[in-house]
Symmetry: C2
Subunit: 324 residues, 2 copies
C-alpha cells in the first residue's frame, strides 16, 4: 500500500509515526511543509522536514517533539557569548551537523529535494519511508502584525519570528506565503499523490503547515484528481489546538477555531475541496451533521496522540470508517 | 611600548603569551599568518588567528595548544554520521561558533581584518592586545608532493591536507603561496610595523607561518624601513623543531634544518634581510660566529617554552641582549 501524508513538523511527525505503526508494511511518503524554513547564522534550517526526518529515523527528541535526542547547545552558547543575534532560535549541536550538510549542498547547487534525500539516506534507510519537501522553490510564510514600535503601522515578520520569538502573542492580521505563486511541487510530489492508495492530511497547523502545502500550484489539483481517498485529521479538539497555536493563526484566514470549520475550510473533493473524509475528536461529535452537509464523511474518534499506539489506533479506525 | 609580533599558530601563541607576561604594560600587536586558512563544510577557518585569539583571551586549550578549552565534538560526530568528508580536520563545537560568526560576516562582505577585530572584542577586550591578519586577501599555501596514486606525477595539496591529513609524511617538493603576489597587507599592518618600538619574529614555522607573512608585498620593505629593532627567535633547537614539523618543509625552500640557517634565511637588515638579532637555543651556541658573519647579532639562551614564565624569561633576556 502506498500512503502519502501531508504534514507539518511536531504534530505531523507524531502522526506519521502513528501511521507507520498502524501500517508497518505500507510505503510511506511524507510531503513536508517548507514554508517555515529559515536561514540563521548562515545555516539553512528546515524545521518541519528535520522534525519528521529525526522522528521517523528514531533520532528525534521524543519529549520536546522537535530537534535531536540527547542534544547539547554548545555552539549556540558561543554565538551568545559573541553577542550574535538572533538568539531566540534554538540550534542544537547535533542539529547543526544537519544544517551544515544541507547548507553546503544547497550552496553547491543541489535542489532541496536532493539534499533531503541525501540526509535521509542516514535516517530513513530501508524503511519504506520517503520524505519529500513540498517544493524545491523558496516559499516563506510571513505574518503581518501591528508594529510594536510604531503605533498604527503594520509589520511583516517571518513565521519563525512570530512563533518562536513573539510566542504568537501579537494578533496575526494576515498570512503571506512569499514565493508561493511561482513555486513548483518538488520532484515526486505529484507522482506520489497520483499513485497513492491513500492520502492523509495530518492534524498539523491548517494555516502555516498544511496551508502552504495545499497552496503549491498544482498540488490541490493533484489531490482533486487522484483516485486515492483523502482523509484529513483535525488538530483542533473541542475548540482548541492540541499542539501549537493554530488558534492564533486561524482568525487571520477567517476560519473559526473549530474542528468542523477547519474540515470545511479544506473542503470536500465533491465540492472543489481536497478531502473525502474528516476525522474529528469525540469532543466535536456535535459537528458531524455540519461536516457531512459540506459533503465530507465525518469520522469521530479519540484523536489525542498520547503515544504511537493510540495514534495508530485512531488512524486505523478513521481510515476504516472513511473508506468502508 | 609598542611591540609587534609576527606569528603562526601554536608556537606563535605560546610565544605571544610569554611576551605579554614579560612586558605586561606594553601594547602588543600580533600579525598572524592567514595562508593556512581553509574552508571546511562551508565554514571559513583561520587556524592561526584563532589559536592566537583563544590563547591570548584565555579561551584556548593549554594542553592541545590549539582550539578551545573544554571543547566537545558533537557537530563533527554528526558530520561523520552523515559520511561527509573531509573528516580529518578536527572542528570543535565551541570553535564552530567562531567559524559561524566569521563565515557570516565574510559572506556579508566584511574584510577579514574587521571580522577578526569583531571576534576579538570578545577575547581581547581592554587588554592592550591587538590581532591583525597579515592580509585581507586570500593567500593559500599549497604543498607539492608526489601523487601517491599516479607514480611519476606531482600533486599540490592544501597545507592543511599535507599537515593534518598526511601528517607531513610525503616529502614536500615545493611550497606555493597561491595569491601572494596580489595580496596587500591588512589595514594597520604596515602602520604597526612603522610605529613599533620593537618587532619580534616568533619561533613559528619559517616556511608556512613566517614565510607567508614576510611574502606579503610591502611587508618585507616595512620591516627593513622601521626604526624599531627586529629580533627573531629560532624554532629549530639543536637541529630539530621543538613544535610542529618544520624539518619536513625547510628542504622544500632549500634551507637547512638548523637554527643558524633559518636566521640567515631571514637575513640581516644590513644585508637586505629582515632581522637585527637572532636568538638561538644554547644547543646552537656553536653557530654564533656563523650567524654574526651574516650581519646578525646572535643571542644564545634557553629557548624551550616550558611555560609562560620560562618563555617570558628568554624573551626578556634576548631583547635585552639584542638591543643593548
Amino acid at each position: 500500500m502506498q500512503i502519502v501524508i501531508l504534514a507539518g513538523g511536531v504534530g505531523g511527525s507524531k502522526f506519521a509515526l502513528g501511521v507507520r505503526h498502524a501500517y508497518p508494511a505500507a510505503d510511506l511518503t511524507v510531503i513536508g511543509n517548507t514554508a517555515d524554513d529559515i536561514t540563521m547564522h548562515g545555516l539553512r534550517i528546515c524545521p518541519d522536514l528535520d522534525t519528521i526526518m529525526y522522528a521517523l529515523g528514531a533520532g528525534g527528541d521524543p519529549v520536546r517533539g522537535w530537534g535531536r535526542r540527547d542534544e547539547s547547545w554548545r555552539v549556540m552558547e558561543e554565538l551568545g557569548a559573541y553577542g550574535v543575534e538572533p538568539s531566540w532560535f534554538a540550534l542544537g549541536d547535533r542539529d547543526i551537523g544537519t544544517h551544515l550538510v544541507r547548507t553546503q549542498m544547497l550552496t553547491a547547487g543541489y535542489p532541496l529535494s536532493e539534499v533531503t534525500a541525501a540526509l535521509c539516506t542516514r535516517w530513513l534507510a530501508d524503511k519504506q519511508l520517503r520524505l519529500l519537501p513540498m517544493s524545491d522553490d523558496r516559499v516563506e510564510t510571513h505574518v503581518t502584525i501591528a508594529d510594536p514600535n510604531t503605533p498604527g503601522q503594520l509589520r511583516a515578520v517571518h513565521f519563525q519570528e512570530y512563533w518562536v520569538r513573539l510566542h504568537a502573542q501579537p494578533d496575526a492580521l494576515a498570512i503571506t506565503l512569499v514565493g508561493i505563486e511561482t513555486a513548483a511541487p518538488a520532484p515526486g510530489v505529484l507522482e506520489a499523490i497520483e499513485h497513492a492508495d491513500l492520502i492523509l492530511v495530518a492534524p498539523s497547523n491548517p494555516v502555516v503547515s498544511i496551508g502552504p502545502i495545499l497552496a503549491v500550484p498544482g498540488l490541490r489539483e493533484a489531490l482533486q484528481r487522484t483516485p486515492a481517498p483523502v482523509v484529513g485529521f483535525a488538530g483542533i479538539l473541542g475548540g482548541s489546538p492540541v499542539l501549537g497555536m493554530a488558534h492564533r493563526l486561524l482568525p487571520a484566514i477567517g476560519v473559526e477555531v473549530d474542528a468542523a470549520a477547519v474540515g470545511l475550510h479544506y473542503g470536500a473533493r465533491s465540492a472543489g475541496g481536497v478531502l473525502d473524509a474528516w476525522a474529528m475528536d469525540t469532543a466535536d461529535h456535535a459537528s458531524i451533521e455540519q461536516v457531512e452537509q459540506g459533503g465530507l464523511r465525518a469520522v469521530v474518534t479519540d484523536l489525542i496522540m498520547r503515544d504511537v499506539q493510540s495514534t495508530a489506533a485512531f488512524v486505523r479506525y478513521a481510515i476504516k470508517s472513511a473508506t468502508s
